[in-house]
């Protein structure tokens, strides 16, 4: 399409869009640095006069807030942060590894006809609330409930469609001839993929890994229904804060929300060129 310069009314629209987009994020950030006296003030405080990091400290040291005369923070969020890291990182690495194998199979060998693509995609069709029902039953029976292993298995299964199809779209862009040349040179099929295909899709692999991490880190429902006492993730902790305290701990909650979202916003910025590809299973390229 031919490119035209922008006009003044459109600049106003653009500024409006930016304000609407950024305001909720601004509010989280400001609430996270409000001292307890500003949390629930009437009228609401937009920018705290005395910004503080006490909310972040309270997350990991519940007693930190005591000097302010605020009770009610009972548990540290350390376990949730560690839990989120364990579950998301391991599930992401597994999902990308398994997805990479399947992507090469689908792209290079049009593997397994129609059934496997559908099988792998089925993880996206079902509402999580629906799959969660049998999981709780089966996992209780086999002792996987409230364990990282169980949670990671689910995360891998539900992100596999994204990693497989996103990686397939990257492999599709590499000409087969380069791999075939390596095989003619005497490399085995496996080594040809490792030494030729893999380096060529390095950027795509990186983007896929971050994208899958975003999905795993964001997951809420399975973590909510499958965790009792042994495991916890950040989204579950955030939901518990809201339930347990009826919203009186704005600052501490906002600090956790801010911590939860920061890595994803950074990851998203790094791979924004590929976000559309990931979200649409590679159907939209850029």
């Amino acid at each position: 399409m031919p490119v035209r310069p922008i006009t003044w009314p459109l600049v106003v629209v653009l500024i409006f869009l930016l304000v609407v987009t950024l305001f909720p994020i601004f509010w989280i950030a400001m609430t996270a640095i409000k001292p307890p006296t500003d949390w629930n003030a009437v009228p609401a405080v937009w920018i705290p006069a005395e910004p503080t990091l006490i909310n972040f400290r309270t997350l990991f040291d519940p007693d930190a807030i005591r000097d302010y005369g605020v009770g009610g923070v009972s548990e540290s969020a350390t376990a949730a942060v560690i839990g989120s890291i364990i579950a998301s990182v391991s599930a992401t690495l597994l999902s990308v590894m398994i997805g990479l194998l399947a992507a090469i199979g689908l792209s290079r060998y049009s593997a397994s006809g129609r059934f496997t693509p559908l099988l792998i995609l089925s993880g996206r069709m079902f509402p999580p609330a629906a799959i969660a029902v049998p999981f709780v039953i089966i996992f209780s029976a086999v002792g996987l409930i409230d364990t990282y292993l169980g949670l990671i298995a689910i995360y891998v299964a539900i992100t596999l469609p994204f990693s497989t199809w996103m990686l397939k779209s990257f492999v599709d862009e590499i000409p087969r001839e380069v791999e075939e040349a390596a095989m003619v040179d005497g490399k085995s099929r496996f080594m040809a993929h490792v030494t030729v295909t893999l380096p060529l899709i390095r950027g795509g692999l990186f983007a896929t890994t971050l994208f899958i991490f975003i999905l795993n880190w964001s997951e809420f429902l399975f973590a909510l229904v499958l965790s009792y006492t042994n495991i916890e993730t950040i989204p579950v902790r955030l939901a518990k804060y809201v339930t347990a305290t009826a919203g009186t701990l704005y600052g501490v909650q906002a600090a956790l929300a801010f911590l939860a979202m920061s890595p994803l916003v950074i990851a998203g910025f790094l791979i924004q060129k590929h976000l559309a590809r990931g979200m649409t299973f590679g159907a939209v390229k850029r």
């Binding site: 399409m1 397994s112 609330a129 629906a130 029902v133 039953i137």
Partner: protein, 300 residues
């Protein structure tokens, strides 16, 4: 070379096996268990799974004909899908068209406008819950603009609570439409447009007659993906309204969650889940109809 072909087949099988195994054991097997369960009236409060007795289509009949809360949740989810997707599409398309123009700081502004879709649904729900508090910033702005007393009790009335859900969804996911439609616009070839302009077409005609038809496959992909996701809508509503007041903002997923994990009616919840799956498949099929031909032709 029969040996080479056999080795190749084994190699391909090895590539696919891990994905097949995890999908089979973590998706297909549980789904079959759920399907079997949906024909019983079992609940963990009624003893072992083996005590469950076959009740035929009892749950399904109950859901479709007697459970008004379920039917309402289905209708509500569909209405939410239509309203949210229309708004997201129109705003997203407007943003994409805006970005076909040249201006300073374009790439930075582009990145900034994409931020919402990277934020966790739970955090989005929590944030908007804070924003819509009666002494929150949104009411404060309303009072500033419209005078004292203009603030609203967002979570106390069914229609206002629904509005908070819609606003939240639209904020969260319009960037996806923007991103997908902009990719589409950027890949529209220039030649047909130039030709049309030379032949005397107005910019409006060029947009409606040439650009939009070429965008159709991309638009359908965006709608299919987003409707699949919105049928699963849970996290944001859970944080925002918990389905309240009453059950006035309850989505299907939230209702199934409450059935299974608050009331322990697992079999009944499983039946509801299967009805939703059937509905989703039907809907996706319906949405794909206009471009199926194009997709098939493109492949062959």
């Amino acid at each position: 070379m029969p040996d080479g072909a056999g080795r190749r087949r084994r190699f391909v099988r090895g590539l696919m096996l891990p994905g097949q195994l995890i999908s089979l054991f973590v998706l297909v097997v549980p789904l079959l268990v759920a399907l079997a369960l949906s024909f019983t009236t079992w609940s963990p409060t009624r003893g072992s799974l083996f005590d469950a007795s076959f009740e035929g289509l009892f749950n399904y009949e109950e859901l479709l004909f007697y459970d008004t809360r379920f039917v309402e949740a289905v209708v509500r989810t569909l209405v939410l899908a239509v309203v949210c997707l229309s708004l997201e599409f129109v705003i997203g398309l407007g943003m994409a068209v805006l970005f076909m123009r040249e201006f300073r700081g374009k790439s930075l502004i582009f990145s900034t406008l994409l931020t919402p879709m990277m934020v966790l649904p739970v955090v989005v729900g929590y944030t908007f819950w804070m924003l819509f508090q009666s002494n929150g910033p949104i009411n404060q702005m309303l009072e500033l603009l419209l005078g004292d007393g203009a603030g609203l009790e967002w979570f106390r009335s069914a229609s206002l609570a629904t509005a908070t859900v819609i606003i939240t969804e639209v904020w969260h996911w319009t960037p996806l439409f923007f991103l997908i439609l902009l990719s589409g616009l950027n890949s529209v070839p220039e030649n047909p447009i130039r030709a049309a302009v030379i032949l005397g077409a107005s910019p409006r005609q060029v947009f409606w007659r040439i650009i939009l038809p070429m965008l159709l496959p991309v638009i359908v992909v965006a709608f299919v993906i987003r409707s699949m996701e919105i049928i699963k809508l849970f996290d944001e509503v859970f944080m925002l309204t918990r389905g309240g007041p009453g059950s006035s903002t309850e989505t299907i997923s939230l209702y199934i969650y409450k059935l299974a994990f608050n009331d322990f009616q697992l079999a009944y919840g499983a039946a509801a889940a299967f009805l939703v799956l059937l509905g989703t498949l039907f809907l996706v099929d319906l949405l794909l109809t206009p471009i199926r031909k194009q997709l098939l032709e493109g492949r062959n």
